[in-house]
């Protein structure tokens, strides 16, 4: 394939030689492939798209030309999307075409490899949460939360149409939840936070028999490790509602198990392992109690036996899903994030249990260490909230937060402005070597 003739020869990925095309047309008894299209003239398209074909190298150059306009910043950003170091072996193995170019495992006999990897992923989430059933992916944390809200409507022991969510919640997550809540007519209401923790007294005050689900996060969107989850669980229990907890696999390696604080569903972004920074590209984690098994959205991989009585894996309980149950399915999800789950499982296995716990501990010490150093800077107070932090924390700034963000960008750093005088700073092992220079830059812009 040469670079020069791309614009005239059609798709570079259709292998037909002119002679083969002619032979195929002859076999069909037509002169021209256009004769095979049964499109009435009235709706036929006779224009062009105006998209010039390019060679592979030229296409790469065009992508580079556009993306060059992205500023090269060191990002101290988190709030649900995190940068952990992904080892090369995860990239190499997950890119193997047998994984990357395969389809959903509807023919399990030739998809044992992917099925086993997804079974491993499900098993890891069961271990991390202490809950019995993990599906093999939703799109992202926000859509997983939306699915949890609709789950509450299918669980028999739960009635009501109020979904209570924390005041400190990512806007995007809230907005997605609102869309999922729209069909079943649920109302989403926020309960207050007290110094970064759920205000349990206020929550108890708000809760009544119409509450179907209470959502809490640990760490919170502000990076605060929740200290009263069991109390949130108790309030939820008192009203026969579902307790949905948001977290991620790195945090869960260290924090108390969701099952031990009474969580019924765990959601979150599992791509904190396996992906790294990717403009919000994620992996919706969805784990719940065994008793809700038949109400779970999405695909499930189960173990079974083959005709030779050997262990084999297969997608199972598919009658929950849209391709069989149509309008009564537990969700409309079809295409999911299976390949991301594969990467997450690989990354977790690469770290191993000690590596994962160590990484989680580093998320605590690194955040608290950076907060302490920033607190020493004139014009900054950090962390704003008491309590323990994971990866990130909120900083109060005497200067307007937006001005600080802009001044930092000019110095090559990105942080998030929470409101007029609050910033949020996130750090992981990936930004470790940049912390000292970042503190210096903060000192320059904060006074």
């Amino acid at each position: 394939m040469s670079e020069s003739d791309v614009s005239t020869t059609g798709s570079p990925y259709a292998p037909h030689t002119p002679a083969e095309t002619a032979a195929m047309l002859e076999a069909l008894g037509v002169d021209d492939v256009e004769a095979l299209f049964d499109v009435p003239d009235a709706v036929a398209f006779d224009g062009d798209f105006g998209i010039d074909a390019r060679g592979e190298r030229e296409t790469r150059r065009e992508a580079a030309r556009l993306l060059r306009r992205n500023d090269d910043l060191t990002e101290f950003l988190g709030r649900g999307h995190y940068d952990h170091y992904v080892p090369s072996v995860v990239d190499d193995l997950s890119k193997r075409s047998e994984f990357l170019t395969s389809y959903t495992q509807y023919q399990p006999e030739i998809a044992q490899g992917f099925l086993q990897a997804l079974f491993e992923y499900q098993s890891m989430l069961v271990e991390l949460t202490g809950l019995g059933v993990a599906n093999c992916s939703m799109y992202d944390a926000a859509t997983a939360l939306g699915e949890a809200a609709t789950l509450s409507q299918r669980v028999r022991s739960v009635s009501g149409d109020r979904i209570l969510v924390p005041e400190h919640l990512r806007d995007g997550k809230h907005a997605v939840l609102e869309n999922y809540a729209d069909g079943p007519d649920l109302s989403v209401e926020s309960y207050p936070m007290d110094d970064g923790q759920a205000d349990v007294a206020a929550l108890a005050e708000m809760a009544d028999e119409d509450v179907a689900m209470v959502y809490a996060e640990t760490p919170s969107v502000r990076g605060v490790v929740a200290e009263n989850l069991a109390s949130v669980g108790d309030v939820t229990d008192d009203h026969d509602a579902l307790f949905c907890l948001g977290s991620d696999p790195v945090a869960l390696a260290l924090l108390e198990r969701p099952a031990d604080v009474g969580a019924d569903v765990v959601v979150g972004d599992a791509a904190s392992l396996g992906i790294g920074t990717a403009y919000g590209f994620g992996l919706g984690m969805f784990v719940t109690r065994e008793e809700y098994l038949r109400q779970v959205p999405g695909r499930l991989v189960g173990a079974s036996e083959d005709a030779n009585d050997r262990r084999a894996y297969t997608l199972t309980l598919q009658t929950r899903e849209q391709h069989i149950r149509k309008e009564r399915a537990t969700s409309n999800i079809c295409t999911n994030q299976a390949w991301v789950a594969l990467r997450t499982a690989m990354h977790a296995a690469w770290l191993g249990p000690q590596g994962l716990v160590d990484l989680a501990e580093e998320c605590v010490t690194r955040a608290e260490g950076l907060a302490t150093r920033l607190d020493e800077v004139v014009g900054l107070q950090a962390p704003v909230h008491d309590g323990h932090h994971f990866r990130e924390f909120v900083v109060r700034t005497d200067q307007p937060a937006r001005a600080v963000v802009e001044d930092l960008a000019a110095r090559g750093y990105a942080v998030h402005a929470v409101d007029e005088h609050l910033l949020q700073v996130c750090t992981t092992e990936v930004t470790a070597d940049e912390e000292a220079a970042f503190v210096e830059a903060m000192a320059e812009v904060a006074r």
Partner: protein, 474 residues
């Protein structure tokens, strides 16, 4: 034809077994952490392979898996075309790996690329505005139906029903229900297409939208599409295009020109982003000018030589926590840019040629036509699912089976443009071989795959969905 897939060896076999990762689990105590004990777990048990073991484990697993690069993959409705390698490299560019919370002004490259892709997709679909946010086809459907709902509500016109042909994808029904609509199922006409009289009977002032795939799941173009659009529009409803079969029509017909108001694109079908064993995909949604104000938040527009995000006036809000499946969108951009007009038009030509040629070569009857990029053959009197299992032994991926139900023992076959004549002839030989085999052979297939026929009933009666569930059994 001979085919053998890698497999784990038997327990009593002395051949080398790389690693069953569940056998390599290790439990570690969580103690002396920087958090107080009452906020931490006690221990964690996970696989703990060394990197060489990990590499062998997943390499062997990959050898027990079949992808587009393993052989023909004529899975109907799924468009399993070749996924160009170079798109992977573009999706992994370091300058594309930015955080979603950056200010617009610092990610002008990302916004420029999104703006370009929105424009390309709009041209291809004949749509006036396109959002890239939906992370999959079904998410695109949900976005589109929420847009239709918001549009009607904006006009103080509450509607309660969505009309869907009985041959449609299951996602259409599930999407309508998720958005709170009642589903009105439309029976197919005898020719396998929409029956205008049945449509007229189904449509009313309650109709929010008709969801339609064109060509439909039988590969047939809905020739009466203008009349269909009139019936729906006259009743005040909107016309939704399910883009699953767009690979049939590139450059021949555009949903926007056919009268559709909203559509989704399946980039993992039409635009060759890899299916990844079930995902990720992306499901951008295109709309006409009248609906542009309802697109998800935020949307990209150009401004003063640069680009910015804004919230459309009547936005339906968000369907993904951030901006959708960004790396997949990069691959889409790469594919569309590489092919351009000539490549995209040729892709459809070759996809349709391949489907027609293959149908001509196989011994099974194809009851409905003329079809485009896919056809539905009937395996009857054989069991389609059994025939499919036997095709695995012949080294090819089988068609989609037993759907759509309008064809008895359906073999829904979509070879895509990626197969050469030689490859199609080999694929046809696999159909031929299976066609000649007796029911007993089919029922005991497959034999040459990593696993023999898997007991689905046992899997569902005794759900074991984790190592922990397996452990608790023994």
């Amino acid at each position: 034809m001979k085919y053998d897939q890698a497999r784990w060896t038997d327990d009593d076999d002395e051949r080398y077994e790389p690693l069953l990762s569940e056998k390599a689990n290790r439990e570690v105590a969580v103690e002396d952490s920087p958090l107080p004990d009452d906020l931490t777990r006690d221990s964690l048990e996970l696989p703990d392979p060394a990197e060489p073991e990990l590499a062998r484990h997943y390499t062997r697993l990959s050898q027990m898996n079949y992808g587009v690069e393993s052989g023909p993959f004529p899975l109907g409705s799924c468009t399993m075309k070749y996924n160009p390698s170079f798109t992977e490299d573009i999706s992994r560019r370091a300058d594309a790996a930015v955080h979603p919370d950056r200010p617009d002004s610092t990610v002008q490259g990302t916004l420029a690329l999104c703006h370009r892709l929105q424009d390309y997709l709009g041209r291809i679909g004949g749509m006036d505005a396109v959002t890239l946010q939906p992370p999959a086809g079904a998410a695109g459907e949900f976005t589109g139906i929420q847009i239709a709902k918001a549009y009607h509500q904006h006009n103080d016109d509450e509607r309660s029903e969505v009309v869907i042909p009985d041959s449609a994808h299951g996602t259409n029904f599930a999407t309508a229900a998720m958005a709170g609509y009642d589903v009105v199922e439309l029976p197919s006409g005898e020719d396998g297409r929409v029956d205008i009289e049945a449509l007229e009977a189904a449509v009313s002032e309650e109709t929010a939208a008709l969801m339609l795939t064109n060509p439909n799941t039988l590969g047939l173009f809905e020739r009466d599409i203008e009349a269909i659009a009139d019936v729906v529009h006259d009743a005040g409803g909107l016309l939704y295009y399910d883009g699953a079969n767009l690979n049939a029509l590139l450059g021949r017909a555009r949903p926007g020109d056919m009268g559709f108001d909203v559509m989704h694109y399946n980039v993992h079908k039409t635009f060759a982003t890899p299916h990844g064993g079930g995902g990720p995909g992306a499901g951008p949604v295109g709309v006409t000018e009248d609906l542009a104000g309802f697109l998800p938040d935020p949307h990209v527009r150009s401004k003063d030589g640069g680009f910015e995000y804004y919230t459309p006036d009547h936005s339906v809000g968000k369907v993904h926590g951030y901006y959708g499946n960004w790396p997949v969108l990069l691959k889409t951009f790469a594919y569309v840019t590489r092919l351009g007009d000539a490549g995209l038009i040729d892709a459809s030509a070759k996809a349709v040629l391949n489907a027609n040629y293959l149908a001509e070569q196989i011994p099974y009857e194809v009851p409905f036509g003329p079809f485009h990029h896919e056809f539905v053959a009937s395996a009857s009197p054989q069991d389609a699912a059994d025939a499919a299992k036997r095709m695995l032994d012949h080294g090819v991926h089988p068609p989609t089976t037993k759907w759509p139900e309008i064809v008895d023992e359906a073999l829904m076959t979509e070879p895509t443009e990626g197969e050469s004549k030689r490859s199609l002839d080999q694929l046809a030989a696999a159909f031929e071989a299976v066609h000649g085999e007796d029911d007993e052979t089919l029922a005991s297939a497959p034999e040459r795959t990593a696993a023999g026929r898997i007991d689905q009933v046992e899997a569902a009666r005794t759900p074991r969905l984790s190592w922990q569930a397996l452990d608790s059994e023994t």
